[in-house]
Homo-oligomer: 366 residues x 2
């Protein structure tokens, strides 16, 4: 599969929802497949909190493929033989697009806390500017899970003409107190970690050893991605073979899992970006600036295909059903809602692709 990572530099100001300005800024993106001459075959994929523009394929020396590789590729549900797929790293992230750890201009010092708070709307606005620059003014679809789904919805509300279809997966129209609470643990653990040094941490050391506060925060994240049932099935009460039950720090398998994944994550994800992106997620509310959710959704022209997962504790089906019901009330655009049976909780959008890939294929074909 033809896989390209590109960077676009912008010198014009990016006007943010907060009233602040970001300038200059870079956007890093990846593309898969071939753009038709008339640019009519574009599908935009949006990533989640800790994702990146690397959604599919492998570079030389890569052990793991991109985060939605099961879905994107030749002959796959998002078929790169037909579609030209673009995934951009969002503003505020840490994989090349401008974020709090990027150097500010002209100081050439990292922004750190001087980076402006960004919103999902800002992430989408920046992508829209990139696509304009690439001469892409209309796309077949915008697809994303979790925070990616928030972006898909925001695309349809803010830029009604842009996408023919949107496919928001495992997401919501406004972040709930439950999700904000899980983010709070991570945010508090990061900020209170003495090695974080108010953002003046040693980046090299973090890449090697990780940041404990970030690891603890990620553990909270992992819980929120799973469910009571999925944890039961995955770990049960299994105890580490070589540990004694009566050792104070003897470990259950679920503890090892959280520890391993938490500390591993903290080596490759930037804690300042985590603060900024969770802030964007927390303040996400599709209705902001409108009288109501209905009022916001009335902007939408795109066909809306919603996919949720049973037992998603973070963004429960009921919240996506509310979007669907409201769209039906409005009645001006085609919409569909599918709840997928899964025990994986929120994680299903990444790990149970076989359960919804056919739906995506059909939705893109229609």
């Amino acid at each position: 599969m033809l896989l390209k990572t590109l960077t676009q530099h912008f010198t014009n100001p990016l006007y943010l929802e907060s009233g602040r300005i970001l300038e200059p800024y870079d956007i890093v993106y990846e593309t898969y497949g071939t753009l038709k001459d008339n640019k009519s075959n574009v599908v935009v994929v949006c990533h989640a909190l800790t994702g990146s523009h690397h959604a599919a394929g492998k570079y030389e020396d890569d052990i793991k493929a991109g985060w939605w590789d099961g879905l994107i590729g030749p002959g796959k549900a998002i078929d790169t033989n037909r579609f030209f797929v673009i995934c951009t790293n969002v503003i505020g992230s840490c994989f090349g697009t401008t974020g709090p750890i990027s150097n500010a201009y002209p100081s050439q010092e990292p922004y750190r806390y001087s980076f402006p708070v960004i919103s999902i709307k800002d992430m989408v606005r920046a992508q829209r500017i990139l696509f304009d620059k690439l001469g892409i003014h209309h796309v077949q679809a915008v697809i994303g899970g979790s925070m990616g789904g928030m972006q898909a919805l925001e695309f349809a509300v803010s830029y009604p003409d842009f996408a023919k279809k949107i496919i928001p997966i495992a997401t919501t129209h406004a972040t709930s107190a439950w999700a904000i609470a899980f983010n709070k643990i991570a945010r508090e653990a990061i900020v209170k970690d003495p090695d974080f040094k108010n953002g003046y941490y040693d980046i090299k050391s973090i890449r090697q050893k990780g940041l404990t506060g970030m690891a603890i925060g990620r553990m909270a994240g992992h819980i929120s991605f799973l469910s009571h049932d999925s944890m039961d099935k995955k770990f049960g009460r299994e105890y580490k073979k070589d540990d004694s039950l009566f050792e104070l720090f003897g470990k259950f398998q679920v503890e090892s899992y959280l520890e391993y994944n938490g500390y591993n994550f903290s080596k490759w994800f930037d804690p300042l970006s985590y603060l900024y992106i969770t802030k964007a997620i927390n303040i996400y509310d599709l209705s902001r600036g409108f009288d109501s959710l209905k009022n916001a959704l009335q902007n939408i022209i795109a066909e809306v295909y919603l996919i949720s997962f049973k037992n998603d504790m973070l963004f429960p089906s009921s919240e996506m059903r509310e979007i669907y019901d409201t769209l039906n009330q409005i009645g001006t655009t085609k919409s569909r809602f599918k709840e997928i049976d899964s025990n994986y909780g929120h994680d299903a959008f990444l790990v149970e692709i076989d359960k919804f890939e056919d739906d995506i294929r059909i939705m893109l074909d229609e």
Copy 2:
């Protein structure tokens, strides 16, 4: 109400499930009401993870009454005009009963990590020894919520003749991976807090300022006690009035709640005790030492009244129903199971007493 706090000192060794021994040890307990001469009117109340022997009533200068004051008192569901109620602080805790922060004998230095791992069975064994000492060999009922419910079940399995009835509330027969995962966040946050100093923290400073790691851990606890719905109802997306939405550390109400309660808690609960008691909860499995849950429950002679709450994410109704179904299969003891409709999640056993106090009254009357 007659309210007494007493301490009993034991010089005989307490033989623990781990094979280790605790000696000497103190048990602190509180009693309410008057013991009949024939000692036939005793009700034992067992506390949860962060509870204490102070279950009801107020001492001079107390602002808040004991943790189950709504349930225990003259004319209340656990009527102290009829019953003599005892609540003991469990082994491993930090309110007077011997725990990891108590001085070891003969060094007179705090145990810290040299304190042995204790189990729910050990907590119950220690209480049983206390009651024997008080000449109480048979009680009307053992009642408790959460970890208190685990103790009630353990009493019935380990000492079949002891209680006429047990009333386990919002609990389980074996701690799930989900609950262990939440405890993991707290345990990790405590241990990795540099001020914890591997248990050599400055106790005075903690009583004044709290321990950040403990506060973060308690935030995780608070999430596990609530549910998606209860958080929605309690906090929604309400934002602190004086904070700006686009301030990085501007706060949602749910964040303020977690922060306030987390840091406040960390001033009065000992982090070493938190490590030891969560360990006891994690390794709790009523079936340990038996072939199966059924095999364990076959020991029970007491009447078993189970109360669970809808939306309890920590110890879901399904786990209590399993106990009930298994008891019914065995068919030798009287049992009843009631699921209470509540939006409060696990917290309901403390905050929605009005929803089950009548049930307790009836269960004690029968």
